[in-house]
């Protein structure tokens, strides 16, 4: 009887998702901060992997002449049939030198290069298998030992906040007691405001979400910057096996929300905001880059930026065999 009213396109989201699940997803996460702030451990904790098995830690002398490197690790993760190609972009050497002037430059260059590559691919002839290597999120680790942001923190974030979604974190938060954490968070929030740093903003909750969700959303926003602890060792606590750090005075449980914000970070990064992080990267950061790029290429200033200008497009990369086949096919047609 009600069949009459039912057309059936409410299945459209499922059709979309079926295709996405088949294709799989990708996500590129950058981590930045001084050495020894627990970045690698945190990444391993977030994704339950061991990406840094064969890492060799350099000592101070070896690091004197080290410059900031960009190191990529890729891992394929599958859960409940959903495939994720996760790329972690590491930035060893950042902030480690005696003179750290512009140590963020290799990082901004890297981000720009990914944008440029995407821009070329997007403007090219064969767009079938474009690889998206753009950086979707940058976790920036702030030392818990200071009194807030250090000059290098401020400069780094200001150099990157219009190129990538920055999520600032307070690292190794288990060296602080709750009141110290509160104070530090407040201080950092004030300084972020004061210096005009644009960190990633969690989008507004939909008005039709239930109270539970809205409450979680509020708590999320109030906890920023997240104070995190990472660990990949399992210890025994209260008769249960948990991921944590064993101290003589007690056990720090990574996934205990009373101990640190790890769960909030993980939920935000993976379970609720991963898609939005990618969207903001595509719709805001990349578009800014693209617009700037085009503007720079055209020597004229246009008043109304909705008007087209002649775009002497970037020279197309030498066509690969597939593109050449495509061109030949079109010619023959």
């Amino acid at each position: 009887d009600h069949e009459k009213q039912y057309v059936g396109f409410a299945t459209l989201p499922n059709q979309v998702h079926r295709k996405s699940v088949k294709k799989g997803f990708d996500f590129t996460l950058m981590v930045a901060g001084e050495s020894g702030l627990g970045k690698s451990t945190l990444v391993n904790s977030l994704f339950l992997t061991d990406l840094y098995k064969d890492r060799k830690l350099l000592n101070a002398e070896e690091r004197i002449n080290q410059t900031v490197e960009i190191v990529k690790h890729t891992v394929d993760i599958e859960e409940k049939g959903v495939k994720l190609k996760l790329t972690i972009v590491d930035t060893p050497g950042f902030g480690d030198a005696v003179n750290n002037t512009e140590c963020w430059k290799p990082i901004t260059d890297y981000i720009d290069q990914q944008f440029e590559q995407y821009f070329r691919d997007e403007s090219g002839l064969n767009r079938k298998n474009i690889q998206d290597n753009r950086v979707h999120c940058c976790l920036y680790f702030i030392s818990p030992f200071g009194h807030g942001l250090r000059p290098v923190d401020v400069e780094f974030m200001k150099a990157l906040h219009e190129k990538v979604n920055i999520v600032p974190l307070i690292a190794k938060a288990d060296c602080l007691i709750p009141s110290e954490i509160r104070k530090l968070k407040e201080r950092i929030r004030e300084e972020i405001d004061k210096f005009g740093i644009k960190v990633y903003q969690f989008p507004e909750c939909d008005s039709d979400e239930d109270e539970e969700f809205k409450q979680q959303d509020r708590e999320l926003k109030e906890s920023a910057p997240f104070a995190v602890i990472g660990s990949n060792t399992v210890v025994e606590a209260k008769g249960q096996r948990v991921r944590g750090r064993l101290y003589p005075w007690g056990i720090v449980e990574v996934e205990n929300q009373a101990h640190c914000d790890f769960v909030k970070l993980r939920n935000m990064l993976i379970r609720t905001h991963m898609h939005d992080l990618k969207d903001v990267t595509c719709d805001v950061h990349y578009e800014n880059y693209r617009a700037q790029c085009i503007q720079q290429m055209t020597s004229k200033l246009t008043q109304d930026n909705r008007i087209e200008s002649p775009i002497p497009i970037l020279p197309l990369p030498t066509p690969d065999t597939e593109t050449e086949k495509l061109i030949k096919m079109k010619d023959e047609e």
Binding site: H2, Q15, S20, K80, L125, Q257, R266, R271, D331
Partner: protein, 346 residues
Amino acid sequence: PVDSKNEAAMSELVPEPRQKPVVPMKPMGINANLLGYIGIDTIIEQMRKKTMKTGFDFNIMVVGQSGLGKSTLVNTLFKSQVSRKSSGWNREEKIPKTVEIKAIGHVIEEGGVKMKLTVIDTPGFGDQINNENCWEPIEKYINEQYEKFLKEEVNIARKKRIPDTRVHCCLYFISPTGHSLRPLDLEFMKHLSKVVNIIPVIAKADTMTLEEKTEFKQRVRKELEVNGIEFYPQKEFDEDLEDKTENDKIRQESMPFAVVGSDKEYQVNGKRVLGRKTPWGIIEVENLTHCEFALLRDFVIRTHLQDLKEVTHNIHYETYRAKRLNDNGGLPPMTVETEENHESNL
């Protein structure tokens, strides 16, 4: 407009309602499950929320001689008056001298999903005495939509969601002669199958008996094959074995769908059904033993809607774009100086 509160009917056909992502509410004891679960699969839920918010565009074109029931069929497909039926040519209205393109948009909502549906009618097609090249205005319209999209894409400050007016699906109505395709049918489909997804349908199928229908369909399929006409779903775009198996069955057995449309309801066996009442019985539109309307509807709307859009975007549009870039020496199209935008002097 559709009533979206029909959970009972929908639950059989729509998969279970979306799950909320698993997020612990307040600090609680460690849940042993969390030790091993990252939560990547929730990205599906995130995407779903996003797509539900933004809604969908769908543009469907109908082509065929007048009187083949195009408007009625589209109205039946979408259970609303989305297409204005022509009640035949009265003395005041004239048969259009050329093919006209009439696009009408509607927003329909169902199960929380909003669709901006545009029905593109092509009155005048095939109705003239001399129908040579009558597909040209249609091909032109389709290419114009690709051009519009391309211009938006290369713009400096482009919209987050480029409005999509491209034709995702073209239903071509074949007259139920029972003999074979007409030359005009072949000409149209040959030209247009290269630029748009064509779904051939046999109109007013209630004029054929079951055997006549089966034979006619076989003949039509053979003719299409012999003439190299690739209708949707095109063999070359099957993504994997699963798709190929599913689509092979549709291509080789079900298509072209023999349909009957109606917007009138009758009482049959205690149920109200859409149908056509004849002295010899009631033809039930959604009864699979009577006609294949339900197959067409499920195909276009419930299973392949997204794929129709993707093939349009990834294949037809890309082909158009590649050709334009090549013609232009690798440069994206430039604005032609017109009155409206002469300030944008190149």
